[in-house]
Homo-oligomer: 278 residues x 2
Amino acid sequence: MNQQTKNCQLPSHSDRAIGIFDSGVGGLTVVAALRHLLPHEEILYVGDTARVPYGNKSQETIIRYSQEIVDLLLQRGCKMIVAACNTASALAVPTLENFYKVPLQGVIGPGAAAAVKATRSGKIGIIGTKATVASNAYSQAIQTLDPELTIISQACPLLVPLIEEGWLDDEITDAIIHRYLDPMLSQNIDTLVLGCTHYPLLKKRIATLIDPNITLVDSAENCARTVQQILSEKNLATSQKKDGFLHLILTDRSEGFLNLAAERLQLHVTSLETLSLH
Amino acid sequence: MNQQTKNCQLPSHSDRAIGIFDSGVGGLTVVAALRHLLPHEEILYVGDTARVPYGNKSQETIIRYSQEIVDLLLQRGCKMIVAACNTASALAVPTLENFYKVPLQGVIGPGAAAAVKATRSGKIGIIGTKATVASNAYSQAIQTLDPELTIISQACPLLVPLIEEGWLDDEITDAIIHRYLDPMLSQNIDTLVLGCTHYPLLKKRIATLIDPNITLVDSAENCARTVQQILSEKNLATSQKKDGFLHLILTDRSEGFLNLAAERLQLHVTSLETLSLH
């Protein structure tokens, strides 16, 4: 078989996989939202579990790690890249999107647009990791859309470890959520952006703890809708009709939280690979 | 100046620095204990803040990261190496000590020996990261010294993020400590090993929450005494009489927790360097 014949057997461009990455397994919330909207798309997911979390690391390091993963996803033939990680979306995507030809979509823009659409009072709360909050990426994206809006941000570094510990319906987690959110709730926000891809796993619980009139903006859901739109606009949506695969690449073995997340999100993982990035 | 003259200006072997490493900044508790015992020793500390934490990563990855750091410390001329990280001590030191000529000391052995010495009832509790607890390193070290002892282990993955958040004297932290410790306390342990170098920062608080008759074994203090003994036995103790420097190398910038730890531990950092390991 010569090279040309081999190439003929590759899937057509639109039938190639969507590449999704996160610092760990939290980005599976974006995969779940995408899978719901686009059941036939093949998905290749990289979780950088050898270096998780990104949320307390510097921009330089987060750009370097993200670039290594995007290069891997492109080597594997992905047709578009989704940064399913708020920290990488805030700190690496604005730099990296200048260097790649394929569409590179983060979660910040879709979340910011949904928050602007949702607010009535003009007061929006944002929660995320230390790095995401310190980057002001959500604030800037929201205020570019509407400079009149008031934004109150709060870094919540304990929420990811609590979610990974599996304490999802738990009074200690409730107390920590209150500690983080009460100051912004007392300022009468009417919209709260869950600015970390782990947080949708706490969405129902957060909803029971705050005023039911506050809209929770889930960056995973909004990102998935934007990806659907990009694939459609660029004629990149798959034509195949069978269920798409979900291939997971982890940079380190990660048992506990992967199982928890897959179960909670009702995700079927087709295959799992462990790969060292350097 | 020729090479020979240059070499003459290097410090004598015993005046070279002790190399200490940790996945992050938590190992500064070992530095503080060492500094107290050995004020004249030069100390070179590497905190792998670009890849912190190690506690939920695989043995293969922890060995690779540890080896890169030991190589760096040896390139910088260190006379002995201390793994000031329970996870690296449990999972990497037993492999790495076969490959290096300089003394390589972890924190597990000294902590285990102190626990065996302290217990009267024969029931010892151990707390640590997921990886440290799963490794059974403390249990094995303790049972090698006395196979009759009963050991109860508990992984406490939320304690490091709580300490790094600075919630040291805090009722939420108390509730989480109770959640983790109550099952082993109900089994009447009389000795509790703080099997993570972050935990000494919570030692006083833990002491107020449990039976005062329970002995807390601080792996940092015990490790520092073992290092003192090795330097003396191998004629590696420094002869200089001035205060030793503390040079910190971090693999990523890390502001908040470094300041908190240095302040709580009353450590004077002579100089700080940021260095990417790969």
